[in-house]
Subunit: 268 residues, 4 copies
């Protein structure tokens, strides 16, 4: 039995906040999930910083990245990233686009991130680079047109992630937890790789090691441990998403989720 | 209808605290706003660390940087930075002078900060350098004389920011929110640029990309998202400025704003 | 009189949380203690992130790394690291395996960590490297087979720590507090060494200094001070382990320890 | 009228905690003040981590670093650093010895810290290096013998600070607030200098700028602002020292100060 839509909305809010709290997302970036029963739809929050997402913010989109119900909310300009990848990759159930500080130096210097420790193997052996300028010339670097999204999805190919020159990265997963751990381990890998480069020669994992260690982040023992840990850290910071969806009312809706969480912290 | 003076005082306190909380300001640095109805005046707090500013700390100055009402409070020694820029740049409505850790290495090594990611384009293509020593010889590096302020304003020219050798930077904006996001993105850009330099070759945005992406930080969709995020982070830390201006009484006034905010955190 | 098993369970939970809070451990890594009265057994928590360990999570193992009582809990896959070291090193009473961010660049670039400040002398003069690939070819880099554990223990030899290529490090101690300070000082040493390398030439302590300063971290005056400090920081963050072992019930047991600690913070 | 001993005890506890909270001190390091009315005595806490110091921990010492009253408390092994400097430098009223992360790379690579920004001028132009090994051969690097203390004081000479190879630094001030700001600005200066070195050529202030800017950190306007800011940050973290000295009782005394502070945070 697939998870309910309500459960997935909460899971998506939780994943967004975990990734923000662990330094992958900041004011920007977004996470989506493929619809649990209709593979031609996906779930993505309205335009809002990831650490503020609550279940009620999550909307449904077609794979053309049109909202299923006419939406009054502001929408992410770059949602074609998600739709085009779900179209091109039936195996992908979760997508995250981000500008994490750890990957930006690589996106700027056009230096490949290579797996340098066992958990970093989750990023695969040959992460591709995509430079919007190559195909589309000068732009503001936002991925907003369907042809830009399709071009990015082509560059991603069958890889777990794709670097975006002068912009950031996009990571995919077979489920939300694999996505979250892959995105976090990729940032750790990038940080260690940069410092190893400063120390001397960076030697990556062998291709055999990359293949064998590349599934560690999906092992139940590992996923169970990381999910409990990252959720605990978020909870300890008073930042868990609210369980039930509050009624939204225009300007007021801004602080709702957080206020609720804070209230819990304060009251106890 | 322009915002009320009271609203702007709060906005200025909020902007100061956001910039401190996001690592642009520390014990030092200051933010000012042009007066909403009288372009020949500007608003600047009394001399106090930015994270402590409250609306009642905000005073009015002429563009000669003299207080409009005789002031008993201590004033920032470097307020000519603000007055001289408002005189030279009618388009500027907000100014921030800072010593952010991210820009200091560039101010010391005299290496230009160039836009290396889409949001960093907010700093423009050719940020000028100003070295007080060139025109004024040995000083304590504080910008206190009107001729020093005018010299800095000339160096700024029509740019969004100017680097100050061995000292820091000064950033301007068309409104307070554009200023805040520009100052934050400039610091991120500097940090990424330094690390990209360590990895290999730094390739900046093309001039076309810089022009097109240079307005992202003023897009309503982006500003709305960042402002909610940065305010939420400040609120979550218990550091929002007090809404109403407390009566100030000499030595006691120090902790007022903070205490109030803390009380809210504690009580709930 | 040796400490009671209950005291040691608490000490092990405390040490795990201190090492997590000070940045040595994250979602991964584990700490074990030799049994206080039976040198052929050791104490290790069930598989769980170190910052969540509570006394009730601590299980007993034989030196073959088999649980003394049939266990329903998930166990760490890499517990042979602990068993094999206790077999090879009768003097060792405490073991920590970790992937601290500070040591990873050295584990990746295969650059030796050498003592560069007085407290760093706790790591000894010639820390060995162990690359699982040398003896076992391509693996997922987890140390799970007894022969892998024995190989690692041989590489450790009589040293206080061993580096694990592309993986992390393993540190040992004559008691839990010596272990904790050695692990923390080793990370500080690595961080300072990398930055000194960037500044210029790294000159290590002389062998005489390393020998003389190498016992600082076991001096009662030093251990007393550090233990009070690290415990205070953990307490101040609301993360001390619960004193008494709560009854565990399946899924619920996850947040127990933390919730208890949090409750204390909230109530007061 | 000089400040009362009670006021100075509190000031010393506050300075210790501020320096710990701002990253200059950690588990180690110590701050002392010269006695306000008897220049042949100084005040130094019993052996304890700086962030835990409370007024009741502060003891009196002769300039030979002997306790004025027979002490049952554990004392810092390195207190000759303080006594020997007060003997050699009548102008010095406050001393801090530390191992701040920011200065360690310079202490290890033997690279001079030079003033690279206006506030960094507080460290003076030519900071001396002292290597205990030069005069005393292999030691554990602790400064414990009177002749070691005198040697260090000679190296300090009339400078504001002295680097200690493979160990850390010692900083002095004309009063406690000048000392605190000098120690903090020295760490910022070191951090910026290292990063400027990575970017390109480090150009220090001119000697005239160093002289003129070297008194900024003692200007009332600056000291007032920094002291309010650093104290506010400490208060906001719930770490202010207790005002009145609690009765100490052996083992229990450990957490007193903090608990009191925490209680305030919790109750409100």
């Amino acid at each position: 039995m697939p998870p309910s839509l309500n459960d997935l909305r909460y899971e998506l809010a939780l994943a967004s906040r975990v990734l923000a709290h662990e330094g992958v997302l900041d004011a920007f970036g977004h996470v989506s999930l493929r619809h649990p029963t209709d593979p031609d739809r996906y779930l993505l929050p309205r335009s809002r910083s990831p650490q503020l997402i609550e279940p009620a913010d999550v909307l449904e989109f077609t794979l053309d990245s049109e909202p299923v119900k006419a939406a009054t909310e502001k929408l992410f300009a770059e949602r074609v990233i998600h739709g085009c990848i779900y179209q091109a990759r039936p195996d992908v159930m979760a997508v995250c686009h981000h500008h994490a500080a750890a990957v930006m130096p690589f996106a700027i210097a056009s230096v490949p991130i290579v797996p340098v420790f066992h958990l970093g193997a989750a990023i695969g052996a040959d992460m591709p680079f995509w430079d919007q300028r190559d195909e589309f010339g000068d732009t503001n670097l936002l991925v907003v047109k369907p042809e830009e999204g399709r071009s990015l999805a082509r560059a991603l190919g069958q890889h777990p992630a794709v670097m975006m020159t002068h912009h950031g990265a996009t990571v995919v997963g077979g489920d939300v937890r694999e996505l979250v751990s892959r995105a976090i381990f990729m940032c750790q890998n990038a940080q260690y790789q940069l410092q190893a480069h400063l120390l001397g020669k960076v030697s990556p994992l062998s291709s055999g090691e990359t293949r064998l260690a590349g599934t560690l982040n999906a092992m139940p023992n590992v996923v169970g441990r990381t999910w409990e840990y990252w959720s605990m850290r978020l909870d300890h910071a008073g930042l868990l998403p609210p369980r039930s969806a509050p009624v939204r009312k225009g300007a007021q809706s801004g602080g709702k989720g957080r206020s609720k969480t804070r209230a819990k912290v304060r009251r106890a």
